[in-house]
Every structure is written in structure tokens, then in C-alpha cells.
């Protein structure tokens, strides 16, 4: 069956709501419209407007009320319409959603899923192409996951809703229409460990979310140059499955981390640190980073210059191979 990422997440939401009355889906335009990306299409019609509802246009309000609903006993799935509009909710996410359980000495559970369409590549206007993952990963108390395929989109959504911890689900919006031939439901658990998407021998490409496909394309192109790339899809950014990454780098001796987010203090910095701690004597080259630049996200006509692509990855592969 050919399924897009958006359809796979929709299917996961539908099944989670069908199985558990406590699952609520809400956010801006998620009800009648079915979400600006149609990820929540059909949910209100099927489950009614108490289970899937439109909220006022107030992101802090969405997360803050999700916390109250979770304290009451619901399992809220809150949508932030775009990455750049999570910032109004930053305080509720960082000061309360992430910390209330710890503050309560384990008395409170906040099974809240925060869905965030994120990343660039769709020619969007300013504030609609951000990659804010480092903020969430830096915040103890949050689980942060991001699918690179429709199959993982389904599985990670189900796992996020089932989690008793708050989960930030980063949905790579430029891949919403990416299709896979898969059977749903996906049952093999869990999807929070990293996965070797393509085996190789020369360089490990560490990627996640929207860059998984780009990395796989780079691996195809590299094969023509005679380089064998191993592509590791992190899937979960917090917790971070260091073991799978390190095991790969121990084999290849080289690593290039790829993400859209700006370079400084991005996931690449953390992965480079962990790899050199755990595989120092296996390294043939420094861990390199193919990322967005340390500038604000560019206007749409310039985003292709900003976003990491196959060429940027291959340049770094070449550099790594030259050591």
C-alpha cells in the first residue's frame, strides 16, 4: 500500500483515538479544516468536537491547557501549526511540560504529545521553516523524536501517544508527501533506537527527519564515486542512541552529521562529542557537519543555498576520505 507520511501520521492518530477515549487532538485549524497539512483530516468528523477541536490562536494556551488536560487524565496530542510558532509556547514547554513531573517528585504524569511540522524546503514564508530541535533536546524531561519515513511516522506517533512522558514529535513537513509502500499498522517496536538505513564501509552519515532521504540520495551518488556510505537514521534525538552511531563509526572510522538546523550547538555538535569520547582511536578523520548556516533561515528563493543537500554532504565525505 502506498502511503504518504501525512497519511501515516493521520492513520496513527485515528487508531490511537479509536483505541483510547482519553486521546484528544487539538490545535489551530485541526478540526474542521483537518490541519493546514491535512494531517488531522477526518478526526473531528469521526470522533466529534470534544475529542478533536480547534483552539484559539494561542500556542502557549494550547500547551498550557494540554498540561491541565493531562493532569486531569487525558492524553493530549497538541499541534503547533508551524515550527516558528512554537516559540510563544516555549515557557509552557520548558518550564512546565518538561519539568512538572520532576517538580512533583514523580506524582504527576504528563502524557502529552506535541506535534510540530518542522524544517524547510517548501518555499515557505519566514518563520515557517525552522528547525528548533536543539531547544527541546537541551531540555531535560522531554523526549524528542522525528520520523524520516512514513513507516516511522506511523510508529513514532503511536509510541509518542502511548508514552507517559511528554514527547516532542517533529514532523519533517517537506516529506509529508513522501510515499512508501508499507503495511499499516506498523507493529515492530520500538522506533526510538537509531537504525542503519543503508550499510556501508567508508563513512557514516548520521541524519534524521527530513535529511534521511537526502542522505540516502547522497549515498547513491557517492557509490558512483566509489565511496560506500553507511546511513544512520537517529529517529530519536532524546534519548539519543549513541551506541548505534558509535558502532557504525568504529567500523567506518569516519562520520558526517547532517541536519537542517544551524551548525552551532546543533545535534552535530553533540554527536561529534559523543563519537570522539567513545570511538577516539577508531577515527580516521574528524567528525564533520553538513548543516544549515548560523544565519536566520533564508527567504524562500535562497533556501536551496542554505539547506544541506547531496553536494554539501559529498564535499564533506570527500574531506573525510582525504584524511
Amino acid at each position: 500500500m502506498s502511503v504518504t507520511l501525512a497519511q501515516a501520521i493521520n492513520r496513527a492518530l485515528t487508531e490511537a483515538m479509536a483505541q483510547d477515549d482519553r486521546v484528544l487532538v487539538f490545535g489551530e485549524d485541526v478540526g474542521r479544516l483537518g490541519g493546514v497539512f491535512r494531517v488531522t483530516d477526518g478526526l473531528q468528523a469521526r470522533f466529534g468536537d470534544r475529542r478533536c477541536f480547534d483552539t484559539p490562536l494561542a500556542e502557549s494556551g494550547i500547551i498550557g491547557t494540554a498540561i491541565g488536560l493531562a493532569m486531569y487524565g487525558y492524553r493530549p496530542v497538541a499541534e503547533m501549526q508551524f515550527d516558528g510558532f512554537t516559540y510563544p509556547a516555549f515557557e509552557q514547554i520548558v518550564s512546565h511540560l518538561a519539568k512538572l513531573r520532576n517538580r512533583s517528585r514523580g506524582t504527576l504524569r504528563l502524557p502529552v504529545t506535541v506535534r510540530i511540522p518542522y524544517g524547510g524546503g517548501i518555499g515557505a514564508v519566514e518563520h515557517h521553516s525552522e528547525s528548533p530541535e536543539s531547544y527541546w533536546v537541551h531540555t531535560a524531561g522531554l523526549t524528542v523524536v522525528t520520523p524520516g519515513t512514513p513507516e516511522d511516522g506511523y510508529a513514532l506517533t503511536r509510541e509518542a501517544i502511548a508514552s507517559d512522558d511528554p514527547v516532542i514529535l517533529l514532523e519533517p513537513k517537506r516529506r509529508y508527501w513522501m510515499k512508501s509502500d508499507i503495511e499499516l499498522p506498523v507493529t515492530a517496536p520500538p522506533h526510538t533506537s537509531a537504525l542503519v538505513r543503508r550499510a556501508g564501509e567508508d563513512v557514516t552519515i548520521v541524519c534524521y527527519g527530513p535529511m534521511v532521504r537526502t542522505a540516502l540520495e547522497a549515498a547513491e551518488a557517492a557509490a558512483e564515486e566509489g565511496w560506500s556510505l553507511e546511513v544512520v537514521d537517529l529517529r530519536s534525538l532524546s534519548p539519543l542512541d549513541t551506541d548505534t552511531v558509535v558502532a557504525s563509526v568504529r567500523r567506518t572510522g569516519r562520520a558526517v552529521v547532517v541536519h537542517e538546523a544551524p551548525r552551532t550547538l546543533g545535534m552535530g555538535a553533540e554527536i561529534a562529542a559523543r563519537v570522539q569520547e567513545a570511538a577516539f582511536y577508531h577515527l580516521e578523520a574528524p567528525v564533520l557537519r553538513a548543516t544549515g548556516f548560523d544565519t536566520p533561515y533564508p527567504p524562500a528563493k535562497l533556501e536551496s543555498y542554505w539547506l544541506p543537500d547531496v553536494d554539501r554532504i559529498l564535499d564533506l565525505v570527500e574531506r573525510a576520505m582525504a584524511y
Partner: protein
């Protein structure tokens, strides 16, 4: 002909039913005389009147003990509720047992009514832990320090109750400064649209640390802020326990019966500093303080009860003794209270077991047991 989309919506109600009254509701004069109000009859029996007085007396004594403990280095900081006892105690008294309280960090009086052990809250200020009471047992949420943020939690909780056809009501406390925060406005927006059974209770104690109300808002009153969200704005003399109870009780009952949320502005006065770290002499005069002392809520209630012949010396002594007992318990629990196991830092971050958390826990454990370098630790 095409519909005029800019025409006023038909059937839209005016705002008269939402606007706050010109004068805040007051039933008790400072000397304790009762002035009946036709809209707000006193519906408290003698035993309840005495119980409210008792809770206020206990609150004031425990509050003093907490300040003393801070002065003795036993608490890092403490935010006193001196002068706000009626606003807190009488409003929380208007709730039923299944209802929930969402406090800020100054609601000792509400905690006393909810029978939360005060020492459990004071651990936050001592720094031994961040909270130590079970919110579900007392239906009293954790103290919330970021201003106004808890208004959204109370609103979400109330939305949940409504979705669940559960008749409980939530009440959230914040101050005059809190009415400037975006979250309180988002909360009122949500509550209005969702008709969530939540009561927003503003203790207007005149200062946000040092900033007076005139620098906080240009609104005619804080209660007017409700109107823009479709909530009725109510006002009461927050140093009058009978008026506070009556106004809150009606708002709570309306919320419970599907009448929607409300905002109550209780006019009170913070007799103490913002916190023990604050120096209020820099922003308010001794004269102002003395003037405020004349409206003291506990003295007012005492006057009233004595006028009604409800409060004899033995009863008053009994309350004082109980207050001493509470203070003693707080002192015993807090004084030199040791911090817990440092490894607990890792225990409540996630429900799920995580290898990264376990690894850092092991690191601290190793640091705790490592032989000291160059001698005894």
C-alpha cells in the same frame, strides 16, 4: 443581495452583564459591622464563620514562622501572604472537596484550607525539594513560580472536567502583576470559548514586587480585563472574608452549573515585603502601611464575630493554640531538615527508564563514593 460581512453580528449580547460593578462588594466594615447586600446574602453558618477565622489565624501564625525560619537561614526565601488571609482562605472556602486549586506561590491560606501540610510547601523555599505534597490528595496543584502560567493549567483541567461531564470547578490564583502576563489572557480566552468551569481569582495586593498598579495597567479595574474574553468581571473587598466568600461562591456555583468562567478581583494589600529578599521601604511609605493595617482582615473578622457573640476568649485562645501547634510542626519539619538523596535528582525526570539518565546517575554515584583525593572527604 450579498450579506454585509462587516455588519454587527445579530444576537450579539452587550457587555452590561460582564462589566464589574462600580464598587467592590463589601459586607463587613473594618469595625466588623455587617452591611447586608441584596445580591450577596451571607450564607455561612456560625461554625463556618469560626472555621474561616481559625484558618486565617493559623495562616498568619505559620506565615510568621516561615519568615522567622528564613531569618534564621532555614529558608532561602519566602513569599509572605500577610494581610491577604481573607482573600485566600475565604475564596478557597467557597470550593467543594472535588474542586481544584491552582496556586501561585503565595497561597499559604488556601493550602491551610486544603489541609496541605505547610512544611511540605516550604521545602520549595528551603531548597530540599521542589514540592512535597500529593496534588491529587489535596486537589491543590504545585506552587507555580512563573507568573500567570498556572492559569492555563487550571483552564485545561477545567476543560477536561467539562469534556468528562464532571461537575468539578478549578480556581486559579494570581496577582495584579499576573494580569499582565500573556498566559492569563490566553487562559481567559480559552476558558471563555470552551466555557470551562474555572474561576480566575486575582489578589490585587497593589504591588508586583515594587511596581504599583498604576504602572501595571491602564485598565479601569483588573476585573474589566475579563470583559474582552466574554467573562464576567467581579470585584470584592479582599480583606472582607464574608464578601470574598459570597462573591467567589456565586462564581464557583455558576461555573459548576454550566454558567462558564469568571474573573474575580479581590482588593487586598500585601502587608509584608514581596519576599524576604525584598526591601519595601524603597517603594512604599510607612503611612501607607499604617493605613493598610486599619483594614486588616483578621481583626475585621474578629470584630464581627465578637459583635455576633460567637467568639469568646476561650475559643480565641483555642485557635491561637492550634496556630502555635501548626507553627511548631512547621518548625520541626523544616529546621535543619536535611536534603534528600542526591541520586533522587535522576528519579523523576522521566517515567521511562533511560540509559542516558542512568549513566549520569551512575556518574554522580561514583563521585559520591569515590575515595577523596589527598585525604578524607
Amino acid at each position: 443581495m450579498a450579506e454585509d460581512v462587516t455588519a454587527p453580528v445579530e444576537g450579539a449580547r452587550g457587555d452590561a452583564h460582564l462589566l464589574p460593578p462600580a464598587e467592590p462588594v463589601r459586607l463587613l466594615a473594618p469595625d466588623g459591622t455587617l452591611h447586608e447586600h441584596e445580591d450577596y446574602p451571607v450564607e455561612l453558618c456560625d461554625a463556618e464563620l469560626l472555621a474561616i477565622h481559625r484558618a486565617m489565624v493559623i495562616t498568619r501564625r505559620v506565615d510568621r514562622e516561615a519568615i522567622n525560619l528564613q531569618r534564621q537561614g532555614q529558608l532561602g526565601v519566602y513569599a509572605s501572604c500577610l494581610g491577604q488571609e481573607a482573600a485566600q482562605v475565604a475564596s478557597t472556602w467557597a470550593l467543594e472537596a472535588p474542586d481544584w486549586v491552582f496556586p501561585s506561590y503565595r497561597e499559604l491560606g488556601s493550602a491551610i484550607v486544603r489541609e496541605v501540610e505547610p512544611a511540605d510547601l516550604l521545602h520549595l523555599f528551603r531548597g530540599t525539594w521542589l514540592s512535597d505534597h500529593d496534588p491529587y490528595e489535596h486537589r491543590f496543584a504545585l506552587l507555580s513560580i512563573p507568573i500567570g502560567t498556572q492559569a492555563l493549567h487550571a483552564t485545561g483541567f477545567a476543560m477536561g472536567a467539562r469534556f468528562d461531564d464532571n461537575p468539578l470547578v478549578t480556581m486559579v490564583y494570581f496577582g495584579d502583576g499576573g494580569t499582565s502576563e500573556g498566559d492569563t489572557h490566553e487562559a481567559m480566552t480559552f476558558a471563555g470559548v470552551m466555557q470551562a468551569p474555572v474561576v480566575f481569582f486575582v489578589q490585587n495586593n497593589r504591588y508586583a514586587i515594587s511596581v504599583p498598579l498604576t504602572s501595571q495597567t491602564a485598565a479601569p479595574t483588573l476585573a474589566h480585563k475579563a470583559v474582552g474574553y466574554g467573562l464576567p468581571g467581579l470585584r470584592c473587598d479582599g480583606n472582607d472574608p464574608l464578601a470574598t466568600y459570597a462573591v467567589t461562591r456565586r462564581a464557583v456555583q455558576q461555573a459548576r452549573s454550566g454558567g462558564g468562567p469568571a474573573l474575580i478581583e479581590a482588593l487586598t494589600y500585601r502587608m509584608e515585603a514581596h519576599t524576604t529578599s525584598d526591601d519595601p521601604t524603597r517603594y512604599r511609605s510607612q503611612e501607607e502601611l499604617e493605613e493598610a493595617a486599619r483594614t486588616d482582615p483578621i481583626q475585621r473578622m474578629r470584630n464581627h464575630l465578637q459583635r455576633r457573640g460567637l467568639l469568646d476568649e476561650a475559643t480565641e485562645d483555642g485557635f491561637a493554640q492550634e496556630a502555635e501547634e501548626h507553627a511548631r510542626r512547621v518548625r520541626e519539619a523544616i529546621y535543619d531538615a536535611p536534603h534528600g538523596d542526591p541520586l533522587e535528582l535522576f528519579d523523576h525526570v522521566y517515567v521511562a527508564d533511560r540509559a542516558d539518565v542512568a549513566a549520569q546517575r551512575a556518574q554522580l554515584q561514583a563521585e559520591l563514593t569515590a575515595p577523596p583525593e589527598g585525604g578524607d572527604r
